[in-house]
């Protein structure tokens, strides 16, 4: 009698487990493509905010290379670099850059740099900074991240590439120093990476897969 009761209960539980898993699986299958399109559109829109559409004519979303540089790009994993060209001539790169020393782990950034080495824009892809405090790095929340527009490796100089609290020229925001400091350092390192690898970054995707920076970078 008891065994029968247990079997029935188990059968009900199993049925609901299958129903629940089925619901999730169906929703996943049904939304997979739309989500991928949405994410691609979002990324393209973000890329276009930094490099205007009329400045390039290639498929910026697929014209990418993967690079490794723990020292300068902040990640052990391969990071994607998008390349903008017009009539086959290099125009700009948009680099995925990680700032490993955020207040709450890694901050993932996109840094656009034109051929001359000037920043076309910086955007935050993902972060886990304190809501209401460190999340001012998001462009939707505060214009802070726009101040980097037009900066390059030598303007401001190395001393200037710091938040004001550390003697540099870049604004921090109230209550948060660690987050802006991490972002500033990551952008500066990305510019050094670009300076060292500029030629190689525009090579055809099939001829070059990875770029290692020189062991002595002179970064610090």
């Amino acid at each position: 009698m008891l065994g029968r009761k247990m079997l029935i209960a188990a059968a009900i539980l199993g049925t609901f487990a299958m129903l629940g898993a089925g619901l999730v699986a169906m929703t996943f299958e049904g939304t997979k493509e739309r989500i991928a399109t949405n994410e691609k559109e979002f990324l393209l829109r973000t890329l276009n905010e930094m490099v205007p559409t009329q400045a390039y004519d290639n498929e910026i979303y697929t014209d990418t290379i993967q690079v490794h540089s723990k020292q300068l790009l902040g990640s052990e994993d391969a990071l994607t670099i998008y390349r903008a060209r017009k009539r086959g001539r290099p125009m700009a790169v948009i680099m995925t850059v990680h700032a490993p020393d955020g207040y709450n782990g890694t901050i993932k950034l996109l840094v656009a740099v034109d051929l001359a080495g000037q920043i076309g824009g910086v955007r935050v892809l993902a972060h886990k900074e304190t809501p209401g405090l460190g999340d001012g790095i998001e462009v939707e929340r505060s214009p802070w991240i726009d101040q980097f527009y037009g900066y390059s490796l030598n303007a401001p100089d190395t001393q200037g590439w710091k938040v004001k609290k550390d003697g540099g020229i870049i604004d921090q925001f109230t209550g948060a120093t660690i987050t802006p400091r991490a972002v500033v350092k990551a952008i500066h390192r990305a510019l050094i990476f670009y300076f060292l690898n500029r030629e190689a970054l525009f090579a055809p995707a099939d001829s070059i897969r990875e770029i290692q920076p020189p062991t002595q970078t002179g970064a610090r």
Partner: protein, 229 residues
């Protein structure tokens, strides 16, 4: 279990408020209420999940054996939340960019399991949905008030970043209460949420006490009057 709609409304919004009386769902509550808008976002997302999960739980209440009801409720809530998150990401991508971070947090909100177990599993779907709606709104109200408190004390503003939720027009909602405010970090960090919630509970208790005294006094006075006669 036979409650009138009036009882359900009163309990959900005040006398049995999820955050102030049951003190459930603290994890998302403390994590998210650093601004009014964040509080509103989590409140809306939680209410939606609560209504859907309570409806399903109430519909299947006669099929589920009591021995296995809790794991079944947990599975229902987890599947519903995941499905909502995926659907939002696919069809309301802009909204997902804003509310998306709150949705996974809802799974950790034991208030939802609490309502499924304590109410929805014992009543008809219409009352279960009503109860879920009222509980959700009560929770959302506390989130908004706590968010506003922390935002004013922490940053000196109210409804900052409202454009994330209401579009461009939202920029006009933002009120800067204190110009050139230096910020009060404690209010924004998690301890500020604990202190703020404690204050809200205290205020609620004071209001309840006053209400009780008022209710007693006229009764006592009328008794005296009859004794005189």
């Amino acid at each position: 279990m036979d409650k009138s709609y009036g009882d359900i409304n009163r309990e959900g919004l005040w006398t049995n408020n999820v955050a102030l009386v049951q003190v459930l769902g603290l994890c998302p509550l403390l994590a998210v209420t650093s601004t009014t808008i964040n509080g509103l976002g989590l409140g809306l997302a939680t209410t939606l999940t609560l209504v859907l999960s309570s409806l399903i739980v109430s519909l299947i209440r006669n099929v589920v054996k009591p021995e296995v009801r809790i794991p079944i409720f947990v599975m229902i809530i987890a599947s519903v939340v995941t499905a909502i998150e995926l659907a939002m990401n696919a069809y309301f991508h802009e909204l997902y960019k804003i509310l998306g971070i709150f949705v996974p947090l809802i799974v950790t909100n034991c208030a939802i399991l609490g309502r499924a177990e304590a109410f929805a599993s014992k009543t008809t779907p219409d009352k279960a949905v009503m109860d879920a709606l009222m509980m959700g709104l009560g929770f959302a109200a506390v989130l908004v008030v706590l968010g506003a408190m922390r935002e004013v004390i922490g940053q000196g503003t109210l409804l900052a970043q409202a454009h994330l939720m209401f579009g461009e027009i939202g920029r006009m909602f933002t009120i800067t209460l204190i110009e050139d405010y230096r910020g009060f970090l404690l209010a924004i960090l998690p301890p500020g949420a604990f202190i703020g919630l404690g204050l809200l509970i205290a205020i609620k208790n004071v209001i309840d006490e006053k209400g009780k005294k008022k209710a007693i006094k006229p009764a006592a006075a009328s008794k005296l009057a009859t004794a005189d006669l």
